[in-house]
């Protein structure tokens, strides 16, 4: 058992967590940046393939007010417009800052290249070739963080629970996985930046550690979650043939650059039949495309493995090589030749619009507890625009880090004695939850997670209905209340995979219940929440849904959407 002290603890070392570390450290706070995987390598950032939206105006006249308008339109009346405003207004400055820090945005000398992505009115999305945006961004930020003497980086530290006294966060307890040692951390402020929760769905583009850790930590600490029902399903995730060494969302960048034709099992274009357009410009929104593909499958017009065909066969080898040279080689290693074959694609869980409720300083209703990045709810409403996730991580990370640093002067440190007591209390509580002898010898955390993912995919996925949601809620509560308490993680200390899986599942079950409860309460179809038996939008639900824990139970209530008065300003070109 160990006791450590820091001004600001940052949980999660992707783009949001690293940006938060930089801004907190520059505000003279001491920072501990931890990740349950390796710094900058786990989570979603490193997997980002291409688009980062920012109204730079380098390829077409643009202004951030137009980015804001597109974001709000895509969010279908549910955006917390004050957060969307922060995202869109500050995104260009962050892109330039990253350029100054040597992120090699694809460019024509002084002009950064920007492409059109679905839902954007102009060419607004920058990228790093080839499909290298995430790794490039992660490398830049890792380098900047390493320069700061007041940031301590800790890989392999899983945060188990937060310590809260009188609605103020005081620290956290964690597990140093490689040493198998519990740690008590005194922190005056905490930033949750551990990403999304798409790992809860059987088909996903998530990394292993995206099972909703931030959300569960926030909820148990007394913070609110909002709009948990809105999970973005990426329409054209790779389905077949088997492809390894590539992120399954790789086909979107191909479409940004090269078009590509989406065809049903009869090799006919079909998006038009659902009210969308899908020509060479590739402008159809993600929610509609995902819906259309699954509806085609339901009608018996799917591709052989249950998706749609995506064809680039109209392009020559030279054109493909020019646009994606190294990637074409990787495809070749998987025996895929795009000039000779179409590939199969299908919707996969990709991003979560909902998340932790914060104000414009990124603070939750718990004092000293902040959030940043994908785990923040509200900025993207009911459906996220392509390219908004990375700028959201940059902008919210920076604000959260600075806000956290600002609070530290008013806050005392937890005494080591109280820290030890909190740790002991938490460990006693955890061991109370772990049975000494498992009643279900054949059930493991992994198997239960596998069942949960299947249940969520089948009943809380792209197309939902009342009966499916009821089944899901009942089953999740059974898992959470009857099965989980009877699981026993394997003993052992060093790199105890079984204990890590158990801790993940503990968070995932809570998040799954929150999503199902929220989906069940929203009796309409809007954005990424599509109810087959209520196929219309309803003004009554033009509200954000808040989920909190009251007396040990998850409770839902409705709240007015935060609106913002703004005027569109004239679009202009820049080279800055």
């Amino acid at each position: 058992m160990r006791f450590v002290e820091t001004d600001v603890l940052i949980v999660g070392a992707g783009a949001a967590g690293m940006y938060a570390s930089i801004s907190a450290a520059r505000s003279n706070a001491t920072v501990m940046l931890c990740d349950k995987s390796l710094i900058s390598r786990g989570g979603a950032t490193v997997m980002a393939q291409m688009t980062v939206a920012a109204a730079l105006g380098h390829q077409e006249a643009d202004h951030w007010t137009h980015h804001l308008q597109d974001t709000i339109k895509s969010g279908q009346e549910l955006c917390n417009e004050k957060l969307s405003y922060l995202l869109c207004k500050n995104a260009p400055e962050k892109i330039r800052q990253m350029r100054d820090w040597k992120t090699n945005w694809a460019n024509d000398n002084e002009r950064i290249r920007q492409v059109l992505a679905p839902g954007h009115g102009v060419k607004r999305c920058c990228y790093v070739d080839f499909l290298n945006t995430g790794p490039a961004v992660a490398r830049t930020l890792r380098g900047e963080v390493a320069k700061l003497k007041n940031v301590t980086r800790v890989s392999g530290l899983t945060i188990i629970d937060l310590v809260v006294e009188k609605n103020r966060v005081m620290g956290a307890i964690g597990l140093n996985t490689e040493a198998g040692e519990y740690v008590s951390i005194s922190a005056k402020a905490i930033v949750l930046a551990a990403g999304g929760l798409t790992q809860l769905f059987a088909r996903n583009s998530a990394s292993k550690n995206m099972g909703g850790d931030s959300h569960a930590l926030a909820l148990r600490a007394g913070a609110n979650l909002m709009d948990m029902e809105f999970v973005q399903f990426f329409p054209i995730g790779h389905l077949a043939p088997r492809l390894v060494g590539m992120d399954p969302i790789m086909w979107d960048p191909f479409r940004y650059k090269l078009g590509g034709r989406l065809l049903n099992g009869h090799e006919e274009q079909f998006i038009e039949n659902y009210g969308g357009e899908d020509g060479d410009a590739y402008t159809v929104g993600r929610d509609l495309a995902a819906y259309a593909i699954l509806k085609e499958c339901e009608a018996g017009r799917g591709s052989p493995n249950g998706g749609a065909w995506l064809s680039f066969q109209h392009l020559s080898k030279a054109e493909l090589d020019e646009a994606f040279g190294p990637i074409i080689k990787k495809l070749s290693a998987n025996d895929i030749d795009l000039t000779k074959q179409a590939i199969e694609v299908a919707p996969i869980a990709h991003y979560h619009m909902g998340g932790i409720e914060v104000n414009e300083s990124m603070e939750t209703r718990v004092k000293g507890l902040f959030a940043a990045g994908e785990c923040v709810g509200g900025a993207n409403g009911a459906n996220r625009l392509s390219g908004n996730a990375i700028p959201e991580a940059f902008v919210f990370g920076e604000i959260a880090g600075a806000s956290a640093a600002n609070t530290i002067s008013e806050t005392p440190h937890l005494s080591p004695q109280i820290g030890q007591n909190s740790l002991l209390n938490s460990l006693v509580e955890l061991s109370r939850q772990q049975k000494q002898e498992s009643q279900f010898k054949t059930v493991t955390s992994r198997k239960l997670l596998f069942k949960l993912q299947k249940l969520m995919w089948e009943n809380v996925g792209v197309l939902r209905n009342k009966q499916g949601l009821k089944i899901a809620i009942d089953e999740i509560r059974r898992m959470k209340n009857d099965i989980f308490p009877n699981l026993k993680p394997a003993s052992g200390t060093v790199f105890n995979t079984s204990l890590m899986d158990w801790l993940d599942l503990r968070n995932s079950l809570l998040c799954a219940e929150a999503i199902c409860l929220a989906a069940n309460e929203r009796k309409e179809s809007r954005g990424a929440h599509q109810m087959e038996d209520i196929p219309f939008k309803s003004d009554k639900y033009r509200k954000n849904q808040i989920i909190s824990i009251i007396d040990g139970h998850l409770v839902s209530r409705w709240q007015d959407v935060q609106k913002l008065e703004f005027e569109l300003e004239k679009k202009c070109w820049t080279t800055v």
């Binding site: 160990r2 450590v4 995987s37 390796l38 710094i39 390598r41 786990g42 989570g43 490193v46 997997m47 995430g134 790794p135 390493a146 980086r153 800790v154 890989s155 392999g156 530290l157 140093n176 490689e178 040493a179 740690v183 059987a202 998530a206 990394s207 292993k208 550690n209 043939p241 088997r242 492809l243 390894v244 060494g245 590539m246 992120d247 399954p248 493995n305 998987n334 025996d335 493991t444 955390s445 992994r446 198997k447 596998f450 394997a490 052992g492 060093v494 790199f495 105890n496 995979t497 079984s498 899986d501």
Partner: protein, 117 residues
């Protein structure tokens, strides 16, 4: 792995177990063979279905982005997410030039990213 259509075909993986490099022990696991699957797919299948305590590093799941799954596969340094599962099986060992932590996990954490006492 999840849509395994060739249920009769198995591949055998011989995997280093334990936390003590001086006493190497290998355990053999039979995993369903699927065309195009990676070694990482097979390791995850073992965690899901046979032995949840088998330890190996990975985060991004077959995207070759996190670069955490490096190990020795049939004598060569490889990423488990890029190396394809072979019908005749493979031998998996931890990286030899790093301190062993457990099974296929070695200490690849940079010294400045550790919790110091």
């Amino acid at each position: 792995m999840k849509n395994n259509k060739q249920q009769n075909v198995f591949a055998e993986l011989s995997i280093f177990r334990g936390a003590n490099s001086t006493k190497p022990e290998f355990e053999t696991f039979r995993v369903p063979f699927q065309q195009g699957a990676s070694i990482l797919d097979a390791l995850i299948w073992i965690n899901d279905n046979v032995d949840e305590s088998l330890s190996f590093r990975y985060s991004c799941i077959n995207a070759n982005a996190c670069k955490e799954c490096m190990m020795i596969i049939d004598g060569q340094v490889e990423y488990a997410c890029l190396k394809k599962l072979q019908k005749f099986g493979s031998k998996l060992e931890p990286l030899p030039n790093k301190t062993l932590i457990k099974d296929l996990v070695t200490d690849i954490v940079p010294p400045k990213e550790k919790l110091l006492s």
